[in-house]
């Protein structure tokens, strides 16, 4: 939060004053209250492979992250531009494929991508919206710019934390809220519902029926699924609650079958329909894909969006944006070495201790090498993996990630953060609720913010610029 000179940046000045004056013990007692609130509300996530702790709390940091409204406006414009391009890119990949013919994106990156779904070729999705909900991960490296880390275009999660963190902060620190003008995020569920309703496939006179499809209560994000269904006032369904007849999707209710128009699915492509994808999956709905192809139901996000959000395609995003929109990307990409390119691979192998190497389709902080924190042996082992399958990896320089003041056991200290704002795209264009999920690496010096790796979260405040408040 500091400028080069060490003084707090303008936007943080008020908060820094407050933090400097809080009576000792107050933060600790609020911290205890926050834990209690989270536990009572039951905001938990499940960790795969962790049998004893199927429901765990994500560490919550009391110190909010502040972003000035003027900065946010620039970020927002960049996010909307990005999601617009993602949607055009997907429509093109499953349609005329001009981007490939023009030589912007190498064909093998598309056709060999496991998330490219030939089943989607020629399928007309309502309003050409593929990515209805995007969670674009960004980081700040210098005072001026946000860089995009990752485009999450499949089933991004975390929005429940954005909403609950705000709820808890407003309860615990009303005095700090009144000293700032914080843009509200509470209308996210309304906007999400409006977005989902806007892409209904039918122009019927009755209200579209929207449901949320979850893999079930043992999924790591089940809490979020039920939270959202609750806030949206829609049914949370599992695969066995739905059935397809004559390419129309119905849900089983106590009053008989009810037709479903829009499915906000939090289930990966592979699992939505055992007839079309993985036959061994019990989670999905037999025939769903066929109903979708027939245009009788909308899936959000569309099937096959994963092709646009892998880390190899990511490196082409600036070109993709220019190709479709004729504009330069407003948000920068982190410089990325594509290990599939021999020159880049050579460089990466020579500089592993300085780089972060990621699997092209990896997520959740798994399967990556953080060079500066790795041992010689880990680096050697990773080098072997790289040589064996270079196409599967990209590498990025370790960034001088910005830090935020964070309450630690030894007082307020800087910790690395990133930010996931949620972009909604519907029939009437894209919008972003002012805020997002700030994830924070709770360990000193650590760059890893994933919740599955022990990262925490904090509330994100978009506030009036200090000098105008």
């Amino acid at each position: 939060m500091s400028e080069a000179g060490g003084a707090p940046r303008q936007v943080y000045r008020r908060l820094a004053d407050w933090l400097g004056n809080v009576p000792p013990g107050l933060l600790a007692s609020r911290r205890a209250q926050a834990d209690l609130l989270f536990r009572r509300i039951g905001i938990t996530f499940a960790v795969y492979g962790d049998k004893d702790a199927t429901e765990r709390l994500i560490p919550f940091d009391l110190v909010p992250r502040l972003i000035a409204r003027s900065e946010w406006a620039r970020l927002e414009a960049g996010l909307i531009q990005r999601v617009k391009a993602l949607n055009m890119f997907l429509a093109d990949l499953y349609g005329p494929r001009e981007v490939v013919r023009a030589g912007i994106v190498p064909p093998e990156l598309v056709y060999r991508n496991p998330y490219y779904r030939p089943e989607m070729i020629g399928v007309k999705v309502p309003h050409d919206v593929y990515v209805h909900i995007a969670g674009i991960d960004v980081v700040r490296i210098d005072a001026d710019d946000f860089y995009v880390l990752e485009d999450n275009a499949r089933t991004p999660s975390g929005v429940s934390y954005m909403l609950e963190n705000r709820e808890v902060m407003m309860r615990l620190f009303p005095e700090v809220f009144s000293a700032h003008r914080v843009a509200p995020v509470e209308n996210y569920p309304d906007q999400l519902l409006a977005t989902l309703r806007s892409v209904t496939p039918r122009t019927a006179d009755r209200d579209p029926v929207v449901v949320l499809l979850t893999p079930g209560q043992f999924n790591s994000a089940y809490y979020e699924h039920s939270f959202l269904a609750d806030k949206l006032g829609i049914e949370i369904v599992e695969g066995r609650d739905l059935f397809v007849e004559n390419d129309v999707v119905y849900m089983r209710t106590t009053e008989g079958p009810k037709r479903v128009d829009v499915i906000y699915r939090r289930l990966d492509d592979d699992f939505i329909d055992p007839l079309a994808f993985r036959p061994d999956s019990m989670l999905g709905v037999p025939g769903l894909m066929s109903a979708y192809q027939a245009g009788s139901v909308t899936l959000a996000n569309a099937v096959g969006t994963g092709v646009s959000d892998d880390k190899a395609i990511y490196s082409y995003m600036p070109d993709i944006i220019r190709f479709y929109l004729g504009e330069d990307a407003k948000l920068k990409n982190v410089p990325t070495y594509r290990c599939r390119e021999p020159d880049a691979l050579g460089y990466v192998l020579d500089h592993l201790p300085e780089l972060v190497v990621k699997e092209v389709n990896g997520s959740g902080g798994y399967g990556m090498l953080v060079g500066p924190h790795a041992t010689r042996a880990q680096i050697d082992a990773f080098a072997a993996k790289l040589r064996h399958d270079p196409d599967n990896f990209i590498a990025q320089p370790t960034l001088a990630l910005s830090t935020c003041p964070t309450a630690t056991t030894s007082g307020i200290a800087p910790r690395h953060v990133d930010l996931r704002p949620f972009v909604l795209s519907g029939a009437r264009g894209a919008r972003v609720v002012p805020g997002g999920l700030t994830r924070v690496a709770m360990q000193e010096g650590s760059l890893v913010v994933n919740s599955s790796q022990g990262g925490g979260t904090k509330d994100t405040w978009i506030v009036d610029d200090g000098d105008r408040a």
Partner: protein, 317 residues
């Protein structure tokens, strides 16, 4: 409402009710087995407890004879017994968790709290703490859980189909439980068998009445010493007795009527429930004995099962 949601609510309530019944069954058996052998020469109380819980066969695949310790273990914490109290509470919680948003916060806390507490008891009992102390505390805890659950349901839930499905679960299960106790003990209910009248009977009756929390009620209603046919009357035909078959069916019919009104449609479940209630309303205890109490109870249990299947078919799948 989703059929799955209704199904989970129905079964969640059934499992809590069943857990309470098991706790009461164990208490009754303990009370009987505490009698001096002079009063209790047959010593079949643990066998009866298994039978009225419907797990006798399963138990004997594992144990030769029914002893206090093995039966209590089997009915409380045995993971292999699908109807153990432990498994009932866990199943209730799993069902509740699946429909978390259909429950009020109080209901969820009652059920989730019980599940957490259950683990503590399980650990304590496994670590070999004093069973004579711990088992009664555990059984009290189970009874309190169902009171808390039932109370929070009544005090906090909207009177909408979610509520009626959960209530249906309670009463379908309760009717089954009451009928099972009667069935296991039917031979001592017969008014003119020779063995009746001894002190064994007296204690067995008292124990049965305690099982359903009705000893005081008996005295209030009949103002007489304990007589088997009056007990049968109390547990089958008295609508003021909350665990009687008639009372259960009055509640079942009322829940199904509410659902029928909410959905503007009646079905097989409503018809079946009304038929059974009419039979109970028109019966007299003398008539039941004349036609054969055992046959009556067996038919009732079958009908009650059929009603469960019919509710399921009509609403839950």
């Amino acid at each position: 409402m989703l059929s799955r949601t209704a199904d989970s609510l129905f079964w969640m309530a059934r499992y809590i009710e069943r857990a309470e019944f098991l706790a009461r069954t164990i208490e009754a058996a303990q009370r009987l087995s505490a009698l001096p052998t002079a009063y209790n020469e047959h010593g079949t109380e643990w066998e009866s407890a298994l039978e009225s819980s419907g797990v006798s066969e399963l138990f004997h695949q594992k144990h030769e004879t029914a002893e206090a310790d093995t039966v209590v273990d089997f009915l409380t914490f045995d993971a292999e017994n699908p109807s153990s109290i432990r498994n009932c509470i866990e199943a209730a919680r799993t069902n509740g968790r699946a429909v978390r948003t259909a429950l009020t916060a109080e209901m969820w806390e009652a059920i989730n709290g019980a599940w957490l507490e259950l683990k503590k008891f399980e650990d304590a009992l496994k670590s070999g703490s004093d069973r004579t102390e711990e088992v009664p505390r555990f059984l009290d805890f189970v009874k309190q859980t169902s009171l808390l659950f039932d109370g929070s349901m009544i005090r906090t839930m909207l009177r909408d189909p979610s509520f009626w499905f959960a209530r249906l679960g309670i009463f379908v299960e309760r009717a089954d439980n009451t009928a099972r106790i009667l069935d296991v003990k039917y031979h001592v209910l017969l008014p003119d068998t020779e063995t009746v009248g001894g002190s064994l009977d007296y204690f067995q009756w008292a124990a049965i009445l305690r099982t359903v929390s009705a000893l005081t009620a008996y005295h209030w209603i009949y103002r007489e010493s304990i007589k088997p046919w009056l007990i049968a009357d109390l547990l089958i035909l008295r609508s003021e007795m909350p665990r009687s078959l008639l009372s259960c069916y009055e509640n079942i019919v009322s829940c199904l009527d509410s659902l029928g009104r909410a959905y503007g449609r009646q079905g097989g479940a409503q018809r079946l429930a009304r038929k059974t209630m009419a039979q109970l309303e028109n019966a007299s205890i003398g008539g039941l004995f004349q036609d054969g109490l055992h046959e009556f109870i067996t038919t009732f249990i079958d009908d009650n099962n059929r009603l469960g299947a019919s509710i399921s078919e009509q609403y839950l799948v």
